[in-house]
Symmetry: C2
Subunit: 232 residues, 2 copies
DNA sequence: CGGGACGTTGATAACTTTCAACCGGGGTGG
DNA sequence: CCACCCCGGTTGAAAGTTATCAACGTCCCG
């Protein structure tokens, strides 16, 4: 990672956004910005935890490895998002890895300062609590889907979730450039299987493709595929 | 649920344990204890969130339903544990269900009071943050396992995790009485498949059975089956 | 005694991964 | 500039895993 200064503006970072005005100078003094190249690993499972990261610009994938050439993407982080917070608490080692999906600038604060921030900014602590709660909900929903939902539904869910998080370009395609491999790792299946499911979704006219770009054509049907089947 | 009074003692509940002394009277005034019968549902997915629960005595399973007769057990809560906190944050409805595995006494506080407690007890908020972080780590580990680990490994992991949480009886059996169905729901597989895997584990002398009770015979080998395969 | 819930077992079907091969494009070195 | 190679995408066939279905047994409780 290459160090660079004065790129982070306070508005785009979770910490800055939720901290007291009086605390902002301290943040400014403590944070460090890094440029990260596409594909570069920011930290990986087992690394000792030294700090917490925020995405200033770009996109980051957070994932767990399995087996050298298999992984599960747990979450994506985009501009403004916090990541690396799984390093908090017991353990002292990151339980996950993070790498950049595109040229990215991350903002870094060391763990001691981060914990000091928690103590000083109750609102920040509260917001973080809410953030973790949402992550936990999503995580458990995904757990259940991995256990019970067939791959096709998981692909549908993955696509919807990507569009929700990253939005669409002017011509309606999901605004993220993701390899099929990464899409598969996000859906929790092999890339061949995901590929076949994508084909089915195309011929069923639920999505359409243009090169690697994906457009959701029939969002309602996709939702139906990915939907909670909750009753009683 | 049948209401009953004065059963909860302060030591066994997450909220009481982590709150300021001055706050304990307020808790005492606000909490309500309920007796819950074995198998009784405490709340279920979609129910409006009214409060947070603590286990006073007994055991509770927290799960997500799928499909009327399929579910995934996300977590167990035992004496002292908090549950229902997934109802925090946006949404206003529980994203999960909870029911008692045995006769249980739960302690309930309404959500407004709980949030007031957060504001008043920074240490409590911090502890809750740490708690959620650990849950998130576990949850993501389990996600990855569901995606990539074969059933046998997941069963091994489930058994180890049960023993870690509930300990063993004097004669070395895991100290929880769980139906095969529930074990399967925890491992994320059908009960037939789990049953076969248990048979394999028995004939490989990694576990032994006595009726429904399970004893881990070769914990190291089980761990190897369930282990992180992290490298690079 | 009957019924129901849970446990056990085997056979079969469905789904998903794995393996292997091919293709096309972009970049690199000659 | 071209040949080559490597990577990512695409496709088909086979193998492996897991779920489903069906049947039977047992125990407990009404």
């Amino acid at each position: 990672m290459k160090k660079s200064q004065n790129i982070c503006d306070n508005k785009s970072c979770f910490l800055c956004k939720n901290s007291l005005k009086e605390w902002l100078p301290a943040i400014a003094a403590h944070k460090t910005n890094f440029k990260v190249k596409k594909g570069e690993v920011i930290f990986k499972e087992g690394d000792p935890v030294t700090g917490i990261y925020f995405v200033n610009s770009g996109k980051v994938k957070v994932y767990k490895k399995w087996d050298k050439d298999k992984e599960l993407i747990v979450r994506f982080a985009k501009e403004g998002s916090l990541f690396g917070h799984r390093g908090l608490g017991k353990g002292g080692n990151y339980p996950i890895s993070a790498s950049a999906l595109e040229p990215t600038v991350v903002c870094y604060v060391d763990i001691a300062f981060f914990e000091a921030s928690l103590k000083v900014n109750p609102d920040f602590t509260y917001e973080l609590l809410m953030f973790l709660t949402e992550e936990l909900k999503q995580s458990e929903r995904k757990m259940r889907n991995l256990a019970h939902m067939p791959v096709k539904g998981r692909v549908a869910e993955a696509l919807i979730s990507l569009q929700n998080q990253f939005g669409t370009t002017a011509d309606g395609f999901i605004n993220i450039d993701l390899s099929r491999q990464d899409l598969a790792s996000y859906a929790g299946a092999t890339y061949e299987t995901v590929f076949r499911m994508m084909n089915e979704l195309v011929s069923e006219k639920l999505i359409s493709l243009s090169g690697k770009s994906i457009r959701l054509v029939n969002r309602d049907e996709l939702l139906k595929l990915a939907q909670d089947v909750v009753f009683l």
